[in-house]
Symmetry: C2
Subunit: 247 residues, 2 copies
């Protein structure tokens, strides 16, 4: 039976999602919990919609794995949460067709980037939002954001070490909203390159401070060079919010 699960994790004590020898990772904890649950001699492999970096959070990461156990869907989260550390939580589980693949079946992903705007640091947000106490021209940020929506070659907006060849992606939605004490950038796309959301957030904040003009974004896209865009916003403000599949 193939199981699809929606999970959340607090990224701040993980060395990212993907297994790395000698490091604490989300995938490693998931596979260990499944191994214990199955009383298996070997790891139960877990496939996610994609990796997240060290410090990046997930509200709705999606995974799949194959299991011979006949546990009712509603009981799976309880069974796994009892074995997982308290910074990973399974919210939902459903039995799916064997054709379902957490990564390849994903149609769109939504990320959110959280910014705290108070004058002094908020201790409760230190791992969960980027502290930006300086002035931002949000009209310019909004204007700049519109240039990124659509299908573009995002070479300028991904880390140099990105291995994939095809850097054309589609951004369906990119919007900023006021959260009361801060800002939230919400972005929905067909898929995201390495560090892409963080470079978009950092560059748009650079527009907000006046370092770049909204029109510069268009030039950055055309430049197809990481040097053309702005800085990478820190990992701790970023959340993989949800992964969208057909149906």
């Amino acid at each position: 039976m193939r199981m699809k699960c929606t999970i959340s994790y607090d990224g701040h004590l993980f060395y990212g999602y993907q297994v790395q020898p000698g490091q604490r990772t989300v995938q490693d904890e998931l596979e260990k919990a499944l191994q214990t649950l199955h009383k298996a001699k070997e790891r139960i492999p877990v496939v996610s919609s994609g990796r997240t970096d060290s410090g990046v959070h997930a509200v709705g990461q999606t995974i799949h794995f194959d299991s011979p156990l006949s546990i009712p869907e509603a009981k799976w989260p309880y069974a796994l949460n009892a074995l997982l550390p308290d910074d990973i939580s399974v919210h939902n589980a459903e039995a799916v067709d064997d054709q379902f693949h957490a990564r390849f079946s994903a149609k769109r992903k939504e990320y959110r980037y959280m910014i705290y705007r108070g004058r002094h640091p908020d201790v409760f947000k230190r791992h969960y939002a980027y502290h930006v106490p300086y002035d931002l021209d949000m009209e310019k940020v909004q204007e700049a954001s519109r240039f990124l929506v659509g299908t573009h070659d995002f070479t300028s907006f991904c880390a140099i070490k990105t291995e994939v060849k095809d850097k054309v992606r589609t951004v369906y939605e990119l919007e900023w909203s006021d959260t009361g004490d801060g800002l939230q950038m919400r972005i929905v796309g067909s898929g995201f390159l390495y560090n892409m959301v963080r470079i978009i957030a950092g560059t748009l904040l650079d527009v907000g401070t006046g370092k770049f003009s909204p029109g510069d974004i268009e030039k950055m896209i055309l430049a197809r060079s990481r040097d053309a865009a702005g800085r990478t916003a820190p990992a701790h403000g970023l959340y993989l919010w949800r992964v969208i599949y057909d149906n």
Copy 2:
């Protein structure tokens, strides 16, 4: 010059507010930061409105200390935050009369107790709200809460090891509100005994589950015995919200 500061801290990595040999405490970090700032050979003593337990948070704890430095009020938070660890933050500083005393001048205190009601644990709230996934009869909780408002001997609602003799305190306000995904208990009083807010929260939750009836609260107060009341709710849901002084 006597300085009054409003500070917040994330309690989860502290062994409470008050200095304890060999333990990481909020007071210890504050006094170390002040010593560094003053280039002093000895600690600069800090007086708070009162201690908070291990794991308890503060949104608006108040402290005072005496300093010969002539730093403008608005600069004090920046100077101290630069030296403090990132789980303590100074939000406000003002020069006050030498008669002001963070503890003795306090007229009222407000605490809040946060409860998360989702079915499965929320990883982002694991240190910041008590997870109560089971059903609660909030009408009964509200009814029970009214018995606690007023001036009473709160012996039944404080830890047995409480050293103060006079256990009469006044609760001015005690109200529950819906936070969307949980509940918040807000309590304002003349002062609180050791563990008093956590025992009140735990006992009222016991009313919500039907273990006690609202009328039992009246009997518990009259009993003047810790055994009469319910359980102590965990520390990580509790916040010292603000300390109220004259003016």
